[in-house]
Amino acid sequence: MSTTTTTESAELAPVRTDSLAELLVAEERPPRPSAWSASLTFGWRAILKIKHVPEQLFDVTAFPIMMVLMYTYLFGGALAGSPKEYIQFLLPGILVMSVVMITMYTGVSVNTDIEKGVFDRFRSLPIWRPSTMVGYLLGDALRYTIASVVMLTVGMILGYRADGGVPGVLAGIALLVLFSFAFSWIWTMFGLMLRTEKSVMGVSMMVIFPLTFLSNVFVDPRTMPGWLQAFVNNSPVTHLASAVRGLMAGDWPADEIAWTLGWAGLFVAVFGPVTMRLYNRK
């Protein structure tokens, strides 16, 4: 009536308890990884995710190209006489604007990722607590670098010339990536604070649009009304755009660089701890 032959499932090999037992024999546990090493490992995780889902690079390739082309030809003739002349002013600014805009995807990915079971495991590991978040941002730093290189290439094709040469360009990109890394702690905070992906996106838009447009990215602030100048001249995005523009032009605008670094420090100091508080409570 009943035969007790076990049906072997085709694809799944049996568990080998003998070799399992050997593996379980407690070895000396390796020392805990350093904060930096744990963060790098999470950065590696972010890169693996890009490897498995390369479509997510769309926002750091197609989107920046679109931004450069769109604004160069849209405003170039009216603001500077020709697109070719305008791009000399616009490129560092649009680079800053696009990369700062791209940072907001960090919040969305944190928000969708944090609900997954794997975070329970990460949070139960004896590692430096912020390393998961730092890892995200390290992965994102790679994305920002890709976006910068793409935009610079398009800009050069359109006629942009960086008088600062290779060192100026590299320093400009480095400053931009560093600032974006610091600024992203706002998004990790929102990603952990808000309940749905949609609300994260909504809030991000509310922050990012005024912050990036109300700056000196497109035009000289001197044409703006006084009250707006007051905001624009003190915006971190303006300082960053001025610093990057200066570096790429071969100047070393120490004030603007210092302002940018100061803002970056402030973002980490304020939003870093808030993020970690939310992370520990999740």
């Binding site: 076990t6 049906t7 499932s9 694809e11 799944l12 090999a13 049996p14 568990v15 080998r16 308890t17 070799s19 399992l20 037992a21 593996l23 379980l24 024999v25 407690a26 070895e27 546990r29 390796p30 020392p31 805990r32 990884p33 090493s37 744990a38 490992t41 590696w44 995780r45 693996l48 995710k49 498995h52 889902v53 997954k116 079971g117 794997v118 329970d120 495991r121 990460f122 949070r123 139960s124 590991l125 004896p126 590692i127 409570r281």
Partner: protein, 349 residues
Amino acid sequence: MSTQTSGLAIETAGLVKTFGETRAVDGVDLTVPAGTVYGVLGPNGAGKTTTVKMLATLLRPDGGEAHVFGHDIVREADEVRGRVSLTGQYASVDEDLTGTENLVLLGRLLGHRKPAARTRAAQLLEAFGLTDAAGKQVKHYSGGMRRRIDIAASILNTPDLLFLDEPTTGLDPRSRNQVWDIVRAVVAQGTTVLLTTQYLDEADQLASRIAVIDRGKVIAEGTKGELKASVGAGSVHLRLRDAEQRPLAADLLRRALDARVQAEPDPVALTARLAAAASHDTAAEQAARALSELARAGVTVDNFSLGQPSLDEVFLALTGHDTRVSDASDTSDTSGQDDSHDPKDEVAA
């Protein structure tokens, strides 16, 4: 700072966790000796997962205290994290990464250098029969494979205490048995396991001590034997050749064994539950006597078995409600409800 001297893996006192109005965990006291499998048994929503999450330092308790190997789970959370590992109810691995990548990632996070992490990952995948799937993203794994990679991730560094939160929920019976084999292998090497489950036979199979938890409270605790003894000594299951003889058989059994006799949905099946201390005979002796009574009365028995009471019965006896609240279980007590008559020993000779 006594760490191991107590010999206790977990000790909690009055552990409480509230979510808004609900007290998900309402004063849980647990004492788990090191080196054993401790089962926490209860229906959905009883507070099992919340308890485990507190002990694994993922949730802060709102009241009471708990120590894992002598370390306070709040003040010494980092010490606790160094000695435990957690396999959650939902796969606690990254679904976007491959099996190998997941294990290497965790190996690195646990402090292994890359070559060592790679070797360990390959060995674990091999032992868990996942070598063929090593390069596939975990989201393409079957339920059984996910469970395996999940447990593999938990034992990358052999933990002193492993939390298994409903490790076989949703698995087919075969995968379930394999997870059980894994658990047994892990315990054999000295790891303490805290296993939560809503499957009573799972706790029965694996755990040496069991806490039954319901609505955030521990309602019973003890060895399997103790828990079962609180309900009865065991049951005799019979299948008769002729359904017509069932009332007669039930009557005979009730008198011969002084037992609650229950008619099963199958019209020829009967179960007699032996009372715990009704007799100084062993359950086997009582059963033998019952069989001879039946034979003398001309009742033909096709099939006979003697079993310990199931934990389902334990749960029912302890809580007064079924393990599955919504689903009225199919045990219809049609006869033998009457267990009020006092145990008269009819031991013959």
